[in-house]
């Protein structure tokens, strides 16, 4: 529609791809809490990517690429929920909004969070660290770990829950105190 007079302000494909690739992870992490699981988040991200590519001429280079992507992702999340998404009771209406703004708030410090996570993982007790790394070995579920370790699944879940919370708090502490080196 307005592509002719704005031609100078349209990104070259190279620039677009550079911005595009650099926002994949932040977008994924934004979508993840909104749909509740990785595979769905992947799917929504793919849909979002297609739209972003199709509408690339509408992006105003003077604005934030990530914010633009987030807006598109938001619409895709709604569409996904309408069509196929699992109906999770804590991902509805007002809560979805609050989760989205919370996720947005943390998006500026993703890199710091990642560094903090690395340090926090290291601070875990050896047993906990092994358990969490084991859990995140591709293709491993909590249930499988329980079977392997001969522990009841619920006790493994509880350990994982405790470790995840410890990590989340450790990250927050580090961000607040600026301790990330």
């Amino acid at each position: 529609m307005n592509s002719n007079d704005q031609a100078a302000k349209v990104l070259s494909d190279d620039e677009f791809i550079r911005l595009f690739t650099s926002t994949q992870r932040p977008l994924f992490l934004h979508i993840l809490p909104l749909v509740g699981n990785g595979p769905d988040a992947d799917e929504v991200l793919q849909e979002t990517n297609l739209i972003m590519w199709a509408k690339r001429e509408q992006f105003d280079p003077g604005t934030s690429f990530l914010a633009w992507g987030r807006a598109i992702a938001r619409l895709e999340v709604f569409r996904f929920r309408r069509t196929r998404g699992k109906k999770l009771k804590f991902l509805e209406g007002d809560l979805l909004d609050r989760i989205a703004s919370q996720a947005e708030a943390s998006s500026g410090e993703l890199e710091l969070r990642r560094e903090a996570l690395a340090q926090c993982v290291q601070q875990l007790q050896v047993k906990d660290r092994k358990l969490i790394l084991m859990r995140y070995t591709p293709g491993t579920t909590g249930e499988e770990i329980a079977r392997r370790l001969g522990r009841p699944a619920n006790s493994v879940y509880q350990s994982l829950g405790r470790i995840r919370r410890t990590l989340a708090e450790c990250i927050r502490r580090r961000l607040v105190s600026g301790e990330v080196t």
């Binding site: 690739t21 992870r25 993840l32 943390s106 969070r113 995140y136 079977r147 392997r148 879940y157 080196t181």
Partner: protein, 539 residues
């Protein structure tokens, strides 16, 4: 009552694990509406899950460990480089593209080079290590050699104890002066008072002792060891040996950037915690225990999972051996049962032979039928006395699987009859003989109704010769150097010549005293001077 954040954390966690009920969903929604801290926690934990999931697929767990391994007592340089690595790792080129890039061209080239370098290097290393001299003559390019140990000795290892009153020199001396005959005959377990080890000893103590032993042999033979391997060469070698694979480009980057960025001690410690190390051990031992194929009825993956879990938690080796030997129960739920399920046919003679070969380092299968031709101590009777422990073992098809399913799909149950009785065998002259289960001078009376395999496990754990430890050390040493202390890694019987009897005895004692700690054993060998040598031959 309960902390809402705590409750929320457990609910979020159940959600991630995919085991959340509808009620729990509603409950989480309520908590979120009541407390904005819960929303925050939810986002935090979900993103954490995202990082870890994404990261693990991309080798992040390696860099995760790496970054903070270098956290305490850090130089600015190291911190910077690890941050760079982070940024590098974060370039958000789509994951699978990056992976293709890495695994495609690079790893193929790398692995070819590596395999060539390492196989050649290791065999050379062994040759040098079995004959070489102490490395630190003046003017030797090997000066940095000792800096490894010195640098690293400041690192704190959770497993190491304070250097106690234990004097390693005197320990080594007492071992050296212990009686050995030239063939390393029965005196194989020299008279070292075990109390020497009871004081607690650090990894450095053992590494120093290994170095001392090797350097003496080298000196005796007038051989100059190869210089220290460059960081990159060593890193590839240790990755292949311990984790069973080459490092990714990111993983190896830290070492070649500069030697200072990560000490060898830090690298080996990081690798020992890497799940790939446990996976590799599990794979190797699954193949050793049941072979690669040919037992369609056993549940190979259950055995593998059992071993993986055991190595992951660094269960003492003697415990693992005991569990494999005395296992009972279903082949799917107790993976350890599959070892014996694979070897029970034919009066459990395969079980006897494999147990002796893998866990005791002795080839007994020939004495099944006759006394050993030149190892006078090994008698046919000993074989059957060992076999007698396995005689009451039974495998039955688990009830629910009895009917239609193919052998491959069946679940078996391994049990022990707990019955009395003797075991009979026939000598070459055709005479019938009877034995009771006995090992290392101890026996179970014929009328006993004990679980005999469990008793055997107990006997092995208290073996006067610590054969299980000795055999394992030989295997691990061979895994690292390409050669064990004996020409066949699983034939350490009285007739076998031992290349470094004192060293083998020392490691055996230390391994037992360290409660069969496999991680520590691997660390001792990996950090020994001999294993630091380059694969380049000295002129």
């Amino acid at each position: 009552m309960t902390d809402p954040l705590n409750e929320a954390a457990q609910l979020i966690n159940r959600h991630i694990e995919g085991v959340m009920s509808a009620d729990q969903q509603s409950r989480l929604a309520v908590l979120m509406r009541q407390d904005s801290g819960v929303v925050e926690l939810y986002v935090d934990i979900m993103q954490l899950d995202g990082y870890l999931t994404w990261g693990a697929a991309n080798g992040l767990s390696e860099s995760l460990e790496q970054t903070s391994d270098s956290l305490p007592m850090q130089t600015a340089v190291v911190t910077d480089s690890s941050q760079d690595r982070w940024k590098h790792g974060d370039v958000s080129v789509p994951v699978d593209f990056r992976r293709r890039l890495q695994s495609g061209k690079w790893s193929i080239t790398l692995s070819v080079v590596l395999i060539a370098a390492c196989t050649w290097g290791l065999s050379h290393l062994y040759r040098s290590s079995s004959t070489i001299t102490s490395g630190s003559s003046p003017g030797n390019p090997d000066v940095i050699h000792n800096s490894l140990v010195t640098d690293d000795s400041t690192d704190e290892l959770p497993e190491s104890f304070e250097l106690g009153p234990l004097q390693f020199d005197s320990l080594t001396r007492s071992i050296i002066s212990a009686p050995f005959d030239s063939t390393g005959n029965t005196a194989d377990s020299p008279d070292i008072p075990t109390s020497l080890f009871s004081e607690g000893f650090s990894d450095e103590d053992i590494i120093t002792a290994i170095n001392h032993q090797i350097s003496m042999t080298l000196k005796d033979n007038g051989v100059q060891p190869s210089p220290r391997a460059p960081a990159g060469e060593w890193a590839r070698r240790v990755w292949l040996t311990v984790a069973g694979r080459i490092p990714s480009i990111n993983e190896i980057g830290s070492v070649t950037d500069g030697i200072a960025s990560e000490s060898r001690r830090q690298l080996i410690d990081r690798l020992l915690q890497n799940p790939d190390r446990s996976r590799r051990l599990a794979e190797v031992w699954t193949s050793l225990l049941v072979g690669r194929s040919g037992h369609p009825h056993i549940n190979r993956s259950a055995l593998m999972e059992y071993l993986y879990a055991a190595f992951l938690e660094n269960r003492p080796w003697i415990t693992i051996v005991g569990q494999l030997i005395s296992a009972e129960g279903r082949s799917d739920t107790n993976g350890a049962t599959n070892f014996l399920l694979a070897h029970l046919d034919n009066q459990a003679t395969p079980a006897t032979a494999v147990t002796a070969r893998l866990f005791l380092g002795e080839q007994l299968q020939c004495v099944q039928c006759h006394n050993h031709p030149f190892a006078r101590q090994t008698e046919q009777q000993d074989y059957w006395a060992l076999n007698a422990f396995f005689q009451h073992t039974e495998a039955t098809v688990h009830d629910t699987d009895r009917s239609t399913r193919s052998l491959r799909d069946r679940t078996f149950r391994l049990t022990d009859r707990r019955a009395a009785g003797m075991t009979f065998y026939e000598t070459r002259s055709g005479r019938q003989e009877a034995v009771v289960p006995s090992y290392d001078g101890r026996r179970i009376p014929a009328e006993s109704r004990l679980h005999r395999r469990a008793v055997l496990a107990e006997y092995l754990a208290t073996d006067s010769q610590s054969r299980v430890a000795r055999a394992m050390i030989n295997r691990v040493w061979a895994e690292f150097f390409g050669f064990g202390f004996t020409s066949h890694v699983d034939d350490m019987g009285p007739h076998a010549a031992v290349s470094h009897p004192e060293l083998l005895a020392l490691l055996t004692q230390a391994f037992v005293a360290a409660d069969y700690d496999l991680e520590r054993l691997q660390r001792w060998i990996a950090l020994s001077d001999a294993w630091q040598c380059t694969s380049q031959a000295t002129p």
